[in-house]
Subunit: 136 residues, 6 copies
Amino acid sequence: MKAYLNRRYLFSASHRLHNDTMSAEENRRTYGKCNNPHGHGHNYVLEVTVSGQVDPRTGMVCNLVELDGFVRSQVLERFDHQNLNLVKEFTEIVPTTENLCIVIYDILRRGFPQAHLEKVRIEETMKNSFEYGRIL
Amino acid sequence: MKAYLNRRYLFSASHRLHNDTMSAEENRRTYGKCNNPHGHGHNYVLEVTVSGQVDPRTGMVCNLVELDGFVRSQVLERFDHQNLNLVKEFTEIVPTTENLCIVIYDILRRGFPQAHLEKVRIEETMKNSFEYGRIL
Amino acid sequence: MKAYLNRRYLFSASHRLHNDTMSAEENRRTYGKCNNPHGHGHNYVLEVTVSGQVDPRTGMVCNLVELDGFVRSQVLERFDHQNLNLVKEFTEIVPTTENLCIVIYDILRRGFPQAHLEKVRIEETMKNSFEYGRIL
Amino acid sequence: MKAYLNRRYLFSASHRLHNDTMSAEENRRTYGKCNNPHGHGHNYVLEVTVSGQVDPRTGMVCNLVELDGFVRSQVLERFDHQNLNLVKEFTEIVPTTENLCIVIYDILRRGFPQAHLEKVRIEETMKNSFEYGRIL
Amino acid sequence: MKAYLNRRYLFSASHRLHNDTMSAEENRRTYGKCNNPHGHGHNYVLEVTVSGQVDPRTGMVCNLVELDGFVRSQVLERFDHQNLNLVKEFTEIVPTTENLCIVIYDILRRGFPQAHLEKVRIEETMKNSFEYGRIL
Amino acid sequence: MKAYLNRRYLFSASHRLHNDTMSAEENRRTYGKCNNPHGHGHNYVLEVTVSGQVDPRTGMVCNLVELDGFVRSQVLERFDHQNLNLVKEFTEIVPTTENLCIVIYDILRRGFPQAHLEKVRIEETMKNSFEYGRIL
């Protein structure tokens, strides 16, 4: 038996889906209107899931104050109200929401050992969400 | 590690839960007000989950334009604004939302090999949702 | 200054938009897929707004238990899990959500004098809502 | 008594709040992180409200197919997946959501006389929404 | 023509609906389970609406940073994660959500003259919301 | 392949996070404002997930009427509109939402053998949710 904590954070950013190594036509066919030249943006909803045993003393899986502090300084302050194409992690890879999940997963896995990271989930719009985590 | 894409679609339909091989009394006891003779309806929220590795070139798990096209022509155009009891797949089985998940799962599994199908989830109301997929 | 209470209720029903006095072609052009012959359905969200002064003794605009009892017996028990085309009020008028607002407004205005009725609002889908009330 | 129809549309766009006639310092103080140089973006939820008497023949306030067609061609196709700062209407005014409401209100008032326009409402994020309409 | 800004804030608090001048029986009849002796709680969603002309220079109705700062220090820090029955404003009146609207409206009207206050709206649960403002 | 039913229930309650065996300072550091002396409250959204094969006769995984009856009498009537710190199960453990998940999971596992219980999920606020179930 295991307990899971899901914590949600909101941020807004712009991006343009475009791969310099593909032709204009292929970019257009692959990304549709997300390839529009001047970019567009979203309100992203980030959900971080950590798991573990519930500490019998505190009744908690993970200290939320610590998790919030880490996500604020390492994720939100770097991505919120930014153009994702200009963020360091996206100089070589396209800022799709799939890749955004992987980037944030890696930031958490490396920098936040206080809890077992299960997955990162990002809602890009009411219609699309993406997740990245270990194979179930 | 694996990435997941969840894509949501909306459709509205009517249905009546009723099994001809059960007595009127048993139908009433099993389905409650969902057995009311003239049917009722819902706004269904369909969520399709596919998974895979993120393509390093496109940054995507699955081409959304293709998935949307398939779901539109094979699911939404056949079920949206219809009476589910009259749809071909429900001539022999009761159109519960459990069975609706299975029917849509099978349509996707057979007709959309472009991505690995994980599960189909349908919200029937704010209070009920159903999922169908491989055993975790 | 005035206080307002908004109270939400959920019900599910089916309907078909069709006017017998119009031609098949005109029905189709007017109602689109909502004219499909076998009906479809929705999860309706009904919101009733009443207003008044806040009673200094109870701190309330209107007794919710009384409002809930009235709406349950006079609206929900009659419309929930039904085919609206077969409900008495819709024998002569088309069960659009505009007309559904008017019908429920009239039921409340006539039968629930305990509070000042401001308006009735119905969400038909995530994309459509309708309201009926006094001219602002 | 009057009936109201509220219709919602979704679009995603990027913008940067910045007024060239103000100093960098004043821009920063006025717009905070919304003044970040490379822009950011949102999923905008646009809600258009029209009103009128319910047509006794159709049971409708306004033909939705016509409204949807107008909004699609005149608003969504011009603003969705764009950088608002580069849209014609915002060459002289700052693309705040207040101004976006006014711009869309004017497009509808001039181009869609088929229904009485009451107001335009835009949700910028889960926390912010703006409306523009006649004085109540 | 007028523009409106709606800004939402979340806080969680507990309360018990009980009037010392009423009998136990009358309290029970008036407030139902909200009169349970040890209190209960809610996640309140507060929405503040201010209005005005859009400043042609800034494109804004009201500076959000100022509004947020005022609400944080005068409302959220005093009510969030508290028992409302023990908050100074509720020593003489019952902490119904109607009265909570009035109390917050008065705090804003007296302390925040930077914008024209239209109304205060509080969602107590998914089913109940209350508003307080000038008579329309 | 397996089918899952998720059923949601709402209740409102108050709690205070505090462990008598920890110092005032440690309680404060661990629980932050959730340790405020007079408690606070939430609207909890409980989601119960059961799984199984779809019964070919009824088209259902589990009879909802039975599940609703059990949850109403064993969970909602005991926890709704209560102070969780005073509920029997929390005399020895802190009423965190992690522990609330475990308590409700155990009530269901012991008392409702009619379906295979997968997990219990509770949303405490729009930002926090917790789950408890078997290790995936």
